[in-house]
Assembly symmetry: C2
């Protein structure tokens, strides 16, 4: 491609609201352009990256036996009513009425369409398994679209839906997809982990997220330093914490503790380690029709994990409770404990059967000591804690370490949630109608462009990996008036194209400084600068990662490029 | 591809509302599936055809120097306000509000997005020309979606937008696109014509439609039998009609013509040919804010062409006027003529300066004779007639013939309509700011799948052309219990794949009759039936077009397939 015939309108101005390097460089490099809150159009460079990523995804999905389809972007609301999601899906689901006042949605995901595509068409277990996927536009009306295409409202996603006769076969496909996704992200040159994940609102019996490890990640993930265990903090488990400090042996007693409202103060007053204290976290749980104040108890040195807490109580959302709301619920802030509490509460499961604990007495300026956390009903105990760096791996006891990650894929074992709701069945070996067992599998295709930059950039711009870059290399003509240079560069360009390299030649009538700045911003893996040193038979090879520069023989330029790129 | 691992759920049931073969066969063959009024999802076979067509379009567009982009499907309403179309576009434009009550549209076309992509980025004539295109989902909220994917609401379209420094360069690109489109439709194996078209609401200085000639076409097109002239009836021109019959010489006179309300009656009463009579067609013109009764006068033996009439008066729509509306407008139905008429009217330009004409006298039971159509103002004369079969070519005088066509592409010279409205300018050679000259160019990608079937099918199903078929051939195993046959068919399949053919093997455990019916319905260009004749070293070659069957040597099967397909 000739830069003079291409359209990559680079600029020095970053978007005002941009904080992430990927957002800044994608806009400055003319890859994408904003066209409204969370809405982006893809310029030629952005479209090239969309296609490159899509092609890798498609290739591996096809090799795994999945079949590509295309669901309509606008979907009939009736399908969403059948599954029950039309009313329960939040405001992210963009609902609209057409000219005839009928309801439609712009697809944020396509479980319903996928079920509709097999319902009454796949009738026998003999036609299973079946895996249908698409790479298509999605829309989610995010409350706070941000970070450029990393969290936009319109985005391109690969979403696949598999149908099985039983749970074993679903599990087989789930494992196949884990392997397939690993191949895809490896081919894209990414440093990623498959982590245990919260299945949340999608439901089902198990899910894994694929996380790319980057400094600016939105998600906290915990990885074991000695085995393969890794999990999103929302779903991370650990070995129960070992006791530390002297056991504060005492008979049960209500103790006067004036103004002792924090764990730190309690621990100091009683001279016990925080291990023996119980912390109350008070939240307001929002449900579809009502809300409720709920207390979550965790060990004094632990923190509440919000998603776990939300799953514990089945709320749509948890928000902080106001002082008045806490008071009206009959809760004494600062002195709240599970013994004799007159409000809904849950206790972290690690506290079960702990003895000699100290907790609030639900009375101003009083705590209980010598408490046994044993006589509560089993369903009060839930996994509630936020696992931290240094906690022990639940599998091997190794150390867990906290990293930041960005989600790029998520695979779910859905089970029969959607097929049952939509009454989509097949006849099994015994001629009995059963709902399909389903899996669903997503990859954020457009988001991956940003993730690849988050994972690899410097202060000057993108640093694309050679596995998947918009172009393999840029051939830069330093000076268009240098006839020898122009001739050599054009020949090199033509030879590179002929030998299968995907190169761009910067043949624009621009100053050399502009061309170098643009090269560094666009970030193709290599550049060949054809300049004055051509007189001595040399050109400059720039390696974008590290911006290393070396003089090489001009006659070797193509050979060296090919070596570096393979 | 193995049919046993594929998903083409064929059925004998045609959709209830289906009248066109393409609609019936696309649904019966499991290419597409309806998911709401005018909404279709594409199953694997449909997706394969979408990709095949897209790839041909993309290849030729890239060769012509256009650059592929991707505009967001959801577009900010502000862009549409800037161009002025947010308010004037009809109900086909799907407008919706997001969770923050801001206005958006689902793109029916992307002139605004294209202008936004170059505005303030292309600043100099040196950066021109530039042609950006995408292949993307569109949505038009059609009042009456019908004919399956031929007139759906959601569809896939290739839309391109070019930017130029002057009208000459736009004209050059327009001609290049005419040539490019011709290559595309030729590669798709279609019998098409590029015809002169009405530019209508899009505006601009010239446009051409690409029409595929098919029996079930929605459009009337006129093609010259001796030169290349072809036009949509909406824009068709002709040589002025030659007079016939005796000239009814008479001095101007108002004649009593009781109950003589039709052209036929007038012609019989006066014993003159219809050539010398004037017909009044009375319409109600709908504008954005009001409506008006307008009379269109054409020669007695001509018909009014609605689109031409609409363009003449600039109305958004023309509808029939009721008896009351006609009366209230002061028009005497059956006796209406241009002389002394107290209503808005236009006259067909072929009538200009005609003499010895007969027309209504705007008085019950009276006509004027001996009328000269000469003293009216020039702007009353417009091209209003519907050109018919047998009319004479405006270029060479040959005979025009009427055909039915389906529009598959449309190219426009837009001029500066959108760039001016959106204030998108560049600096010309003299440093003066000028609005871009623009062209726009569309191809109905998803509709082409249906068009290809309309153009080539029989009563049993699709008959794909070998240029662009979902698969080149089907290898049919007659009987899965025939081990020799299964072995031979699988070897042939593998060899065909290895030599670059795109074949499907029907290895399903189904009766032979089912397989043959499915083959005829899906309609790949060739089939090889591996059956009993293999004992004598033969297989059957079926040519789908004509369903011709021939025994060929089994050992020659691959060679013959390759010969037929090249």
């Amino acid at each position: 491609m000739r830069f003079s015939k291409f359209y990559a309108p680079t600029t020095k101005e970053a978007p005002k609201d941009a904080t992430l390097p990927s957002h800044i460089f994608l806009v400055r490099g003319g890859f994408v352009e904003q066209n409204g809150a969370g809405l982006y159009s893809f310029l030629p460079l952005g479209k090239i990256m969309l296609d490159k990523i899509s092609n890798v995804v498609r290739d591996e999905m096809n090799k795994a036996g999945a079949l590509e389809v295309s669901f309509s972007v606008v979907t009939n609301a009736d399908l969403w009513r059948d599954s029950g999601r039309f009313s329960v899906f939040g405001k992210e689901l963009l609902r609209f009425k057409d000219r005839k006042e009928n309801d439609f949605v712009i697809s944020p995901t396509n479980e319903e369409s996928a079920v509709a595509m097999v319902k009454n068409k796949v009738n026998s277990y003999k036609q299973l398994p079946l895996h249908l996927y698409q790479i298509n536009t999605k829309f989610r009306d995010e409350a706070r679209p941000r970070f450029g295409i990393l969290r936009g409202r319109e985005f391109v996603m690969k979403d696949g839906y598999s149908f099985h006769a039983n749970a074993d076969d679903l599990r087989r496909e789930f494992d196949l997809m884990e392997a397939t996704y690993s191949k895809i992200f490896t081919r894209l040159g990414l440093n990623f982990r498959a982590v245990e994940a919260d299945s949340g609102a999608i439901g089902g019996s198990g899910s894994k997220e694929f996380m790319v490890l980057t400094k600016n990640g939105e998600d906290d993930i915990l990885c074991c330093d000695s085995c393969k265990y890794a999990a999103n903090v929302e779903a991370a488990r650990r070995q129960p914490k070992a006791p530390y400090g002297d056991v504060p042996e005492a008979e049960p007693f209500k103790f006067h503790t004036p103004n002792t409202k924090t764990i730190k103060a309690v621990s100091e007053l009683f001279r016990v380690s925080e291990f023996y204290t119980i912390k109350a976290v008070i939240k307001k749980a929002i449900y579809a029709d009502n809300s409720e104040i709920i207390v979550f108890f965790v060990r004094g040195d632990d923190e509440l994990e919000d998603t776990k807490a939300q799953n514990a109580c089945g709320a749509l959302e948890l928000v902080d409770a106001s002082e008045d709301e806490i008071k009206n619920a009959g809760i004494v802030a600062g002195f709240c404990g599970p013994v004799g509490l007159n409000a809904k509460f849950f206790i972290d499961k690690e506290l079960k059967d702990n003895t000699q604990m100290i907790c609030g007495a639900n009375e101003i300026d009083y705590h209980f000591i010598g408490v046994s956390v044993s006589s509560f009903k089993d369903d009060r105990f839930k996994d509630l804690v936020a696992v931290k760096s240094g906690d022990k791996c639940p599998n091997c006891g190794g150390n867990l370490e906290l990293s930041k990650g960005i989600e790029v894929g998520h695979i779910f074992q859905l089970g029969d949630k959607y097929s049952s709701a939509m009454n989509a069945t097949f006849l099994d070996e015994n001629g009995k109608a059963k709902p399909f067992m389903m899996g669903c599998y997503g990859i954020g295709v457009s988001r991956l462009i940003a993730v690849m930059i988050e994972a690899s950039h410097d202060e000057k711009g993108c640093v694309w990996q050679k596995q998947c870059a918009p172009f393999d290399a840029m051939i830069i003509i330093s000076n268009l008036k240098d006839e020898e240079g122009v001739k050599f560069a054009n020949e090199l360009y033509q030879n590179a194209i002929n030998s299968g390299l995907n190169v761009m030649i910067d043949d624009r009538n621009e100053r050399f400084g502009v061309k170098i700045n643009d090269y560094e911003l666009l970030g193709y893996p290599y550049a060949i600068v054809v300049g004055k040193s051509l007189n001595e038979g040399n050109v400059e090879l720039i390696t974008r990662a590290g911006l290393n520069k070396e003089l090489i023989k001009a006659s070797d330029a193509l050979k060296v490029l090919k070596e570096r790129l393979c």
